[in-house]
């Protein structure tokens, strides 16, 4: 074997136990030699070795065949028709070829190393981490000479100004992060105020409730008992609002109607509904998933993300789950034409908590 001459020979003389990390071992390893070598089938039986060798080169030839198949499949299954079935066949068969080719190389290589290559154990001594004393002295000497010749320690002005320059050069990069936070402008004074943005939605007094996504206004008389209607504020259309998705994410509302005797609004919110019709924010107060799994007989509203349950008949109070607050209610009334309109914006920020929420 190749371990007869000792590559560490010249270092062994200076090997010493590490001075600071010594641990008193009461139960040192008793058997620090290798376990007895166990012969494999391929070592004992030449026929087995032959079989293993055959397996390995068969796998490598199989890999070649699979690569050829992948190229052939690319030609045999064209995707020019554009049909999904053709694309699927092309991807499937080319992919199978490539996967089989790579897998066969891997399996063959590992089988080669395990069954055919020598598996005799040997001990390779650990390299000493501590350098020889002469090496260490030479290094210290080199540093001292460099310091002396460059004047790095002596010419403090040059050294300090260089450190200042390096530190200052990082600052412009940090400054660029300011661009990530928008700033208010006379046209849009609240753009830089996330607390304001999280606390206000498109709803305001008199905004009509309309169907998502058609935008058709909703008459109170058209809502049957047991209905659930997905609602957006009037005017929230992709072409009309610049930050459409942000506004929609805050303003979405679920409107339901139940028999008036089953509705028990919380104190002070008795006039927020109309004849059994109530509207609640669809944004979960836990982490903001859309809550819309409404059960019309139990009046339970289930959030699909973390199973928070709200009771719509009792002001959307939390029945179960991680949500900490009821869903914010949108106060609604009916205008002169019989359409449902908002009395005001939500009285609290919709969605999950944030630091400045009071």
């Amino acid at each position: 074997m190749a371990h007869e001459d000792d590559p560490l020979e010249h270092e062994r003389a200076s090997w010493q136990p590490s001075p600071g990390l010594a641990v008193a071992v009461t139960d040192p390893v008793q058997h620090d030699s290798l376990p007895p070598h166990r012969e494999r089938m391929t070592d004992k039986d030449p026929a087995a070795m032959k079989r293993a060798v055959r397996t390995v080169y068969t796998l490598f030839y199989l890999s070649v065949a699979a690569s050829i198949w992948a190229v052939a499949a690319y030609i045999l299954f064209p995707i020019e028709s554009g049909s999904l079935t053709d694309i699927r066949h092309n991807e499937l068969f080319v992919g199978l070829g490539i996967a089989a080719a790579l897998l066969a190389i891997g399996v063959g290589a590992i089988h080669w190393s395990k069954a055919v290559m020598s598996d005799k154990e040997f001990i390779e001594p650990r390299h000493a981490t501590r350098g020889r004393d002469t090496t260490r002295d030479a290094a210290i000497q080199a540093f001292a000479e460099a310091n002396e010749e460059s004047g790095f320690g002596r010419r403090a002005m040059i050294r300090n100004s260089m450190i200042a320059a390096v530190v200052a050069s990082i600052v412009p990069g940090i400054t660029l992060f300011r661009g990530l936070a928008p700033e208010g402008s006379p046209a849009d004074p609240h753009a830089g105020d996330p607390v304001y943005l999280l606390s206000h939605t498109m709803w305001k007094k008199g905004t009509r409730l309309v169907h998502d996504p058609t935008g058709a206004p909703i008459k109170a008389a058209d809502i049957e008992i047991g209905s659930a209607v997905h609602v957006i504020p009037e005017g929230l259309m992709p072409d009309e609002v610049s930050n459409y998705l942000d506004e929609k994410a805050k303003a979405i509302v679920l409107l339901v109607r139940m028999p008036v005797d089953q509705l028990h609004p919380p104190k002070g919110k008795e006039s927020w509904g109309y004849d059994g019709i109530v509207a609640f924010s669809k944004v979960c107060t836990h982490v903001g998933c859309p809550v819309a799994l409404y059960e019309q007989q139990t009046h339970h509203l289930l959030c699909p993300c973390h199973q928070s349950q709200f009771d719509v008949s009792h002001g959307a109070e939390v029945l179960f789950g991680p949500a900490a607050r009821p869903l914010p209610q949108l106060p609604i009334e009916v205008d002169a034409e019989g359409y449902l309109v908002a009395q005001s914006d939500f009285h609290e920020p919709v969605g999950p908590s944030f630091w400045e929420r009071h």
Binding site: R40, I87, A115, E224, S227, L293, Q296, Q297, P304
Partner: protein, 268 residues
């Protein structure tokens, strides 16, 4: 004997033999069970006989014999069942044709089971309930023809239905044992009936909420899903991260562990 001797001579059995044996056993059991249940389903398929047309009067007798224990002799309802005033003929069609009614047992939700009545009997009971207190009626053939705008139907389905029924119509769980059923077997008529009548805990989607053309689009989308195979291959029940995550954790990571064990094990 000869075979035994040979095995002992070769003196080795792959460590994977046990795993392979269990796998083969599971596959066999599963295969036999799947075949048997398919055969059972085939024999249970009730062929509806078309007898003479029954009238609302016959429907009244059927209702009194089969439904009035819970729903009352005059549809007024009892402690065990709700009043049927105003539910309409379509509610009868939906509940009875899908086997949900008569209820097998009180529970969180009525279960789908083989229908207990012929189509004529269902129609007769529907006519009786409709004559007592009218409600939603059978739709026109056009509404359920499945030739609407599939893309618009898909958008409406995602907004109004997908949160419970799953975007691929595979169904999903609700609270306290209730669930939204899968829609991959539902007929167009029953999709329409469910929307307008709001069976059990499903909200009502009346024609003022989703109009007839929108309902037609939604039905077309669901029929399209039923008739077209997913181009992505096997969908694992279309249940999303639950079934897909389970698959990758068990089989994906399981394979990785098996390969790691094989790579690091000493050759025999």
């Amino acid at each position: 004997m000869a075979r035994d001797k040979k095995r002992r001579n070769s003196g080795r059995r792959s460590p994977l033999a046990a795993a392979v044996l269990i796998g083969v056993g599971l596959l066999l059991t599963g295969g036999v069970y799947a075949g048997a249940s398919a055969a059972m389903a085939a024999t249970n398929d009730t062929s509806t006989q078309h007898s003479s047309n029954l009238t609302a009067e016959d429907g009244k007798k059927l209702f009194q014999a089969n439904c009035s224990t819970c729903h009352g002799l005059d549809l007024q309802g009892t402690e065990n069942g709700p009043s049927l005033y105003g539910v309409g003929e379509l509610a009868v069609e939906f509940q009875v044709s899908t086997g949900r009614m008569p209820l097998a047992a009180q529970g969180p939700q009525a279960q789908i089971k083989p229908a207990q009545f012929t189509e004529d009997q269902v129609r007769a009971m529907a006519a009786y309930v409709q004559s007592m207190a009218p409600g939603p009626t059978y739709p026109s053939a056009e509404t359920v023809d499945g030739k609407g705008d599939v893309a618009n139907g898909a958008e409406l389905f995602r907004i109004n239905c997908a949160m419970c029924h799953n975007v691929a119509g595979a169904g999903g769980a609700l609270t306290e044992g209730k669930y939204a059923p899968a829609l991959n077997q539902t007929s167009a008529l029953h999709m329409y009936a469910a929307m307008v009548t709001g069976p059990q805990n499903m909200p009502v989607f009346s024609n003022t909420n989703l109009n007839l053309s929108e309902k037609r689009d939604i039905i077309s989308y669901l029929l399209y899903l039923q008739q077209n195979k997913s181009p992505g291959g096997y969908g694992l029940g279309d249940l999303g991260p639950v079934s897909e995550g389970l698959f990758i954790w068990i089989f994906g990571i399981g394979t990785l562990i098996a390969v790691t064990v094989w790579i690091t094990a000493k050759s025999n």
